[in-house]
Each structure stands twice: as C-alpha cells, then as structure tokens.
C-alpha cells in the first residue's frame, strides 16, 4: 500500500506538470476575459500582466502549496475552489449513492430475473438514458418539469429570494427542490453503467457451482442473491467506483452548466473559456488528486470485498 501511495503521488505530480504545460500551449489570452476588446496602453497591460503568475512562479507556488490568484476574479484560487466544492460534492455524492445502491440492486434483480419483461424494460430505459448526452437529458428535464409543469426550478442551487434568516428546514427543502433536476439528470445519464456491470457480474456469478449448490440446498433466492451472488460480483463495481470517485470533486460539467449548478465543473468550464490559467490549474490539481484517491480507494475496497486479495 505504501508503494501504491508513492506511485499515486508521483503520478499526480507528473500529471500536474503536464497540465500546466498544456494550458500554456493553449491559444488565447486571459486579457480577453479581463478586458474584453477594450484597448489599454502597453504600460497598463504590462502592469496587469505582472500580477499574473508566470510558469516558474506557478510551479514555485504549487511546491509551497499556494495555488495563487485567479486572473479574472482576482481572488485566491483555493478560496474560489472551496466555495464551489460543496455543491459539486453534494451532487456527486448523491449521484454515486443512488447509482451504487439502486443501480446495484437493480443489477442483481435483473440478473435474477433475466428473461422477464420488467427486467428488459428497466434495461432498455436505463440504456436509453446512458445513450443520451447528459446535457440533452438536462434540457429535456428543464423543458418538461420547469418550463411546462413548473414543478422544479430550471437552475441554481437555492432560491435567491429566500431570507438568510430562514429556518434550516426551509433551506434544506429549498436545496433539495433545486437539486432534484440536476440529480435526476446525473442519475439517468449514469445509472445504466453500474446496473449493467452488476448484472453481468451477477449473471456470471450465478452460474458458478457454489451458487448452484446453494440453490440445490434449498436456500431462498433472496438469500442466494445477497450472500452468494452479490458480494463476489462486487469487484468490477469497485473498479467503477474508483473511476467515478472524481465526480465528487469535478462534478459533471454539462449538467452543472445546463442547471447553472455552482460547482467545480461549471467553474472550470468558465475558467477554461476565460483562460484563467491559475484557476484551471487549481481545479485540474483537484481532479488529479481525486483520481488518485479514487484509485487508492478502489485498491482498499478490493481488499475488503475480495478475500483472495487480502491473503495475496
């Protein structure tokens, strides 16, 4: 595990260097975001640029743990990222929670009822959701549930008119009301993957001799599914969880943009368009760290779910 952690740190460092260099190779000028097409005298432009970190300064800052200042917002990158992390984490965590509970349950259920109409229907619906781009799903949800039915707001994280003195319960209900559509878009776009992974793994496991033996012993189908099918079929799901873990911090850019969910995805999309290099680097680093953490988490979970790994 120590070696694995060391590898993760080294990979994160290399990825950071590549990210910084790639960003500097991108065409475009942050001055466009700061000034539009307003002209400024060369000395004023030079004065503005001298406040912007150069490549060596960015690397120096990173080594000291300082992510620097956003060019466009003129505020510390760390502060800006921290402000956007909460909404992204909330959306990502709930998506993962639903995907890896409902998705897994539906996957096992589909495996146990492979030839029923209901299982085929669930499979078809989720695969349609997976096939559609998330922003299309988002726009459809907005059109139906916000513009036509007026059941949910079309965007944002909370009601801007809600009093700062509103009770915790009011604020919670308001947040959940705003969360409904983006969360639905995320889940519809992703649910098919854990479902199908779990279904395939459970089907393969169900054909194993120990499952057949359990059934032959007269153990109930539910218990067979829980005790003998589900856990051995978890390994590919753990891999998936590791891969999707960065969603917690990077969000889903398209869904955040469509719903103007003020998370890291929306922030990074805007920062990239603005060529706000320090902010993009800060967000990119966050993502790299999340990828490495996800990978480490998967390794740890392998040990938990697979006894063979523990003893290896």
């Amino acid at each position: 595990m120590l070696r694995r952690t060391g590898d993760a740190i080294a990979t994160a460092l290399v990825a950071s260097v590549v990210l910084v260099i790639l960003l500097h190779l991108l065409p475009g000028d942050p001055l466009a975001a700061v000034l539009g097409d307003h002209p400024v005298a060369p000395d004023v432009e030079a004065r503005m640029r001298q406040h912007w970190a150069t490549l060596p300064a960015i690397f120096g800052g990173l080594l000291r743990g300082d992510l620097g200042q956003s060019i466009v917002q003129n505020r510390p990158v760390a502060t800006i990222l921290a402000e956007h992390l909460g909404p992204t984490f909330l959306l990502g965590a709930l998506t993962l929670l639903i995907d890896f509970t409902a998705g897994l349950a539906l996957g096992v259920w589909s495996a146990l009822h492979p030839d029923t109409m209901r299982a085929r229907f669930v499979g078809a619906v989720t695969i349609v959701g997976y096939a559609l781009p998330s922003f299309v799903i988002g726009m459809l949800l907005v059109w139906v549930f916000a513009l036509k039915l007026h059941w949910f707001p079309p965007g944002g994280v909370s009601d801007v008119l809600l009093s700062p003195d509103a009770s915790f319960a009011s604020r919670l209900v308001d947040h959940l009301w705003h969360l409904a559509l983006p969360l639905a878009a995320m889940v519809i776009a992703t649910l098919a993957v854990p479902l199908r992974q779990q279904r395939s793994a459970a089907l393969a496991t169900a054909a194993q001799p120990w499952v057949l033996a359990a059934r032959a012993r007269g153990i109930s189908p539910g218990l067979v599914a829980w005790r003998h099918c589900w856990r051995p079929a978890l390994t590919p799901i753990v891999t998936l969880l590791g891969l999707w873990f960065p969603m917690l911090v990077a969000g889903a850019v398209f869904v955040e943009v469509v719903f103007q969910w003020p998370g890291v995805g929306l922030l990074l999309a805007q920062a990239t368009a603005d060529r706000d290099v320090p902010l993009v680097i800060g967000g990119g680093l966050l993502l790299i760290i999340a990828v490495q953490l996800g990978s480490l988490l998967a390794d740890v979970l392998y040990h938990v779910v697979d006894p063979a790994q523990r003893h290896a």
């Binding site: 065409p27 475009g28 000028d29 539009g36 103007q260």
Partner: protein, 541 residues
C-alpha cells in the same frame, strides 16, 4: 416615431392610472447577469458591463443622461450628485455638489471626494484616454469643484460629469491604490447612490437594498438582486419560470416563447450596438504592408454592394432592424433625423467594380483572382455568437455570387483578442458598443488611432478627410449636420460593411411601471422603476 425620439428616451415609460393601493413594501428586481460582477467599484470595473451596472446602483455620477441622450453642450445632462454647474470660460467648468448628498456611512459627500477620485483615476484607470482632455480638478470650497480642460470642445460636461463617479476619500485615502481592489471596501462597498450593498454569495448573487435615506428620494424598488447565470439558455428559462424579472439580450429566435409568457413584456430599447464586417487594410502576416485585397477601396465597395444588408439584418436581429451605411448605432440616431436609409445592394455594379480593380476568374474555378491571388477572404467571428454565425453564412453565400470565396473562421473569444490586436485577420465580424459621443469615432477610425496605442482601430484604417471632418464636427454649431458629413465620408470609403444597428431587446416582468432603459449604462434608472400594487408578487410584499 421619429429617429430623434427613438434615439431619445430610450425606452418605455408606461404611466398607469394612479393606483389607489399602497406601494409594495418589498418591491424586488431579480436580474440575471452573464458574469459575476466581482469589482463594482468605479475606476476598478475594468469597463465590464456587469461591474458598471452594479456600481451605477451604488455610486452616483455627477450628472446623468437626459431623454435624448445627446452629450454635446453644457445642457446635455441632468443633475445628479452635482445640483448645478456653470462655465467660467471655454476651458473651465465649475460644479456645485448637492449639500444633501451623503455616503452611506453618514459622511457628507464633498468636493474633496471628487478631487480624490480624479487623482486616483490618474493612477489606476484602465483607460487613461478618457481623462486625457482634463488638465486639472480642484476644490474651491467643500461643495464646489473646478475642472479645467486642456482644450475647448463641446463634450466637456459629459467627459467629466458623466464619467466621474466619486469615491469616498475618507475611506480610501489611506489605502494604497493597488490594494483597493482587495480591500474591505471592495468586499463591502459604501456608496452614495440609491442602493446599499447588502451581501454577496460568491458565485451566485449580490443583493442590494434601497437606501431609505437617499437624498433624491426613497427608491421605489426595495431590493435588487444581481444573480449570476453564465448560460444564456438558463437565463431565459429562469425568466420564463418567473425566477428573474429582467432578461436582456433576447435573441430574435426566443421572441415567440417570450411573447407567449403572459407575465412578460418585450421592450425594444435603442442600443449603442453596431454590427459590422471590418476590412483589415493591413496584411495579416505583415502589418507593415498593405492588405493585398482590401487596400483597394473598389474591392471594399464591391463586397459591400454584393450584400443584401437589410435581409442579413432582418434574419440575424429581427424585423425592422436599422441598417446604417457608416458607424452609427441607434444611440446616434439624432445625427440622421430621417432615420436609417441604407444604400441598396447592386450585384452588377459589384461585379463591374471588381473587374475594374483587375479581378478576373482566370482559371474558371468560380473564384476571381488577380496576379495569381484568389479572392479568398477569411471571415473571423466568435464561436459563441449565433447572430454573427447567421451573418457569416449569408455573407459567404452572397459573396459567392460575385466570385469571392469566404472561409468562415469561427473561433473562441479568448483567441480573438490576440488576433484582433495583432491585426491577424482579413474580415472580422464585430459588435461594437459605441460611446454616447460621436467624437469617440477617433478611437477606432482615425489616422491617429491607426498609428498609436492603445487603439481600437484594429484595421489600421486612415483617411485624412474623415479626420478633418471629425475635427470640424467636434466644435460645430450644427452638430447633426457636421456629424452627417463625417458619416457620409466614412460611408463613401467603405472601411467596413455596416450590417445592423440592432435594438436592445429586453424582456421585463409586466408588473413594473416607469421602466426606463438607457442605451448606455442601461440600468441607471432602476431605482425609479415601480411595482404596480395590483400586480405585486409575494416577493414584493
């Protein structure tokens, strides 16, 4: 409506029968803006509209526009922070500040604040060219300010009184200029205008509250919320679901949907926007040389005549969009009292002009060429602009009819600045926001601006006759006639193809009365909007 009127009170003032009901206690405006106004402090706005619009709610100008929005002469503006002014001589104006004016911490606004702000502007302003005509500013007494100019010109009042939004000296004098942007003052501004800063939720909103002791009268709007929504579709959805009260920059394609919304009213405000295809007169790969195609005025004229500009304007910006022949947005409609009458397209004349200029289809490929150089034109525009893409497609098709081949170059906004400032383009589809004053033409179209930085004369266009006429117009008695001559000269030289002077289409919730939207600094009168008591929403009560 005459052109003068349309250029005038830029919008719509709807007077309703006197309502018997009491004014809603918490009349609210929620306005979604495309980017976060992170620095709504005069002098520090970096000229971003969102910053300026928010600053306008908190910081008064010395004087503001009058209906008509002309800016020449000493009577052009209406009093604001300055209750009056008088002229000492052609180079000197004296302003009397309103004694009742207070900063929102209770300190009186004084002449010292004005002098301090002027001194600060000299150290920090992004665009120093606006200050260049001013020789000096000094306080004659606590409420009297004397302003001396370097030369006589008709827009002295506008140059100082509108552009000057004083900052509180007592709060900022001890803060180094470079540190003001990150100071506590920037985080929680204290102004002297109709609204006080209330709170900011980073990345989401800024809320302002009415200053109930505002000396010009309590605002009829109690709170204004600037909500940040970067995506235009979401801004529209928020308006249609009633979460916001104003939707600006409405695309013509969205109009039917907004017309169907019973709570919405469309307001067609004259705007300062001008849409044109700018010909680069310098070679993109070596700006010290002339452009091999566009340095010839006959080619520029031919390419102009090849276009059916009214059709392009209509399909891109909607029915009735004016088409100017020179750099004239609707905010300068007073120059041509008869309205916009564009010269018609003429395909035969366009072909003849190109032939005269030596362009022939030597190899029979349908594209004209001259000395081996094909009439191949790169047309650059930002990928994010749907109207400009519509324009580009039509231009491409219409130019094909005269043997010109347009290559559409749809690029990101952050890349365009470098290309434009470096002169690396053939044709650029630009949307310029014109200053209220036509003397600003020198910034983009004069010989001086072609050769000196900073400049917005990106094409390097230079015409000494045009420059001379601008000089004459700057101090002419008959302002409309003088500026007509300037624009006429420009139209004859075809430095660009002027496509449209579009209106600013704004959707506003129907419950507001007294809706006034200005062509420049649109929301200056927001504090005077009113919510009709019989139409108030729960958030207004």
């Amino acid at each position: 409506m005459t052109a003068r009127v349309s250029a005038g009170l830029l919008l719509l003032t709807i007077i309703t029968p006197a309502a018997a009901q009491s004014v809603p206690r918490h009349a609210t405006i929620v306005y979604a803006v495309g980017r976060e106004p992170t620095m709504p402090i005069p002098l520090f706005t970096a000229m971003f509209t969102e910053n300026e619009d928010l600053a306008d709610q908190m910081f008064l100008h010395l004087a503001v526009f009058k209906p008509g929005a002309q800016v020449t002469g000493d009577n052009a503006l209406a009093p604001a922070l300055a209750k009056s002014w008088h002229r000492i001589d052609p180079l000197t104006l004296v302003f009397d500040l309103d004694h009742r004016a207070r900063w929102q911490d209770g300190t009186p606004v004084s002449a010292h604040d004005v002098v301090f702000t002027w001194q600060l502007a000299n150290k920090t302003a992004t665009d120093q060219s606006r200050l260049e005509p001013i020789a000096g500013v000094d306080a004659l007494d606590p409420w009297t300010v004397r302003v001396r100019f370097k030369r006589p010109f008709l827009e002295q009042l506008y140059t100082f009184a509108f552009l000057m939004q004083p900052l509180p000296a007592h709060l900022l004098e001890r803060v180094p200029p470079d540190a003001i942007g990150t100071s506590d003052f920037a985080k929680h501004p204290i102004g002297n205008g109709p609204f006080r800063f209330d709170h900011r939720v980073p990345g989401q909103l800024v809320e302002l509250r009415a200053d109930t002791s505002f000396y010009l009268g309590r605002p009829s709007i109690d709170r204004v919320i600037f909500r940040f929504v970067t995506d235009a579709n979401t801004r529209q959805n928020l308006f249609l679901t009633g979460e916001t009260d104003i939707l600006d920059h409405v695309a013509p394609a969205s109009l039917p949907q907004i017309h169907d919304d019973a709570a919405a009213r469309i307001v067609n405000a004259p705007s300062s926007d001008l849409v044109y295809l700018l010909f680069n007169t310098r070679a993109p790969n070596d700006t010290s040389r002339i452009h091999p195609i566009f340095s010839d005025p006959r080619v520029r004229e031919a390419l102009t005549l090849a276009l059916d500009r009214p059709v392009i304007a209509r399909t891109s910006y909607g029915e009735g969009t004016p088409v100017p022949d020179a750099a004239q947005s609707q905010s300068w409609a007073w120059i041509t009292a008869g309205g916009f009458k564009p010269a018609p397209g003429n395909l035969a004349r366009a072909k003849a002009l190109l032939a005269q200029a030596g362009w022939r289809d030597a190899n029979g490929d349908g594209v004209l060429d001259k000395n081996g150089l094909p009439l191949h034109i790169n047309v650059m525009y930002p990928a994010s602009s749907a109207p400009r893409h519509t324009i580009a497609l039509q231009v491409q098709q219409m130019w094909r009819a005269v043997g010109a081949e347009a290559e559409l170059d749809r690029i990101e906004g952050s890349v365009i600045r470098g290309r434009v400032f470096g002169g690396q383009f053939d044709v650029w589809i630009n949307v310029a926001v014109q200053d209220p004053t036509p003397t600003s033409l020198v910034q983009s179209w004069s010989c001086q601006s072609a050769h000196h930085l900073p400049t917005t004369n990106f094409a390097g266009w230079c015409d000494s006759t045009f420059d001379r006429l601008v000089g004459v117009a700057s101090s002419a008695k008959d302002q409309p006639a003088a500026w007509r001559a300037v624009l006429s000269r420009m139209a004859s030289q075809h430095p660009a193809i002027f496509i449209a002077a579009p209106s600013s289409i704004v959707a506003v919730h129907r419950r507001y009365d007294n809706v006034i939207i200005w062509p420049s600094r649109a929301w200056l009168s927001l504090w005077q909007w009113r919510v009709r008591p019989d139409a108030a929403l729960p958030r207004d009560r």
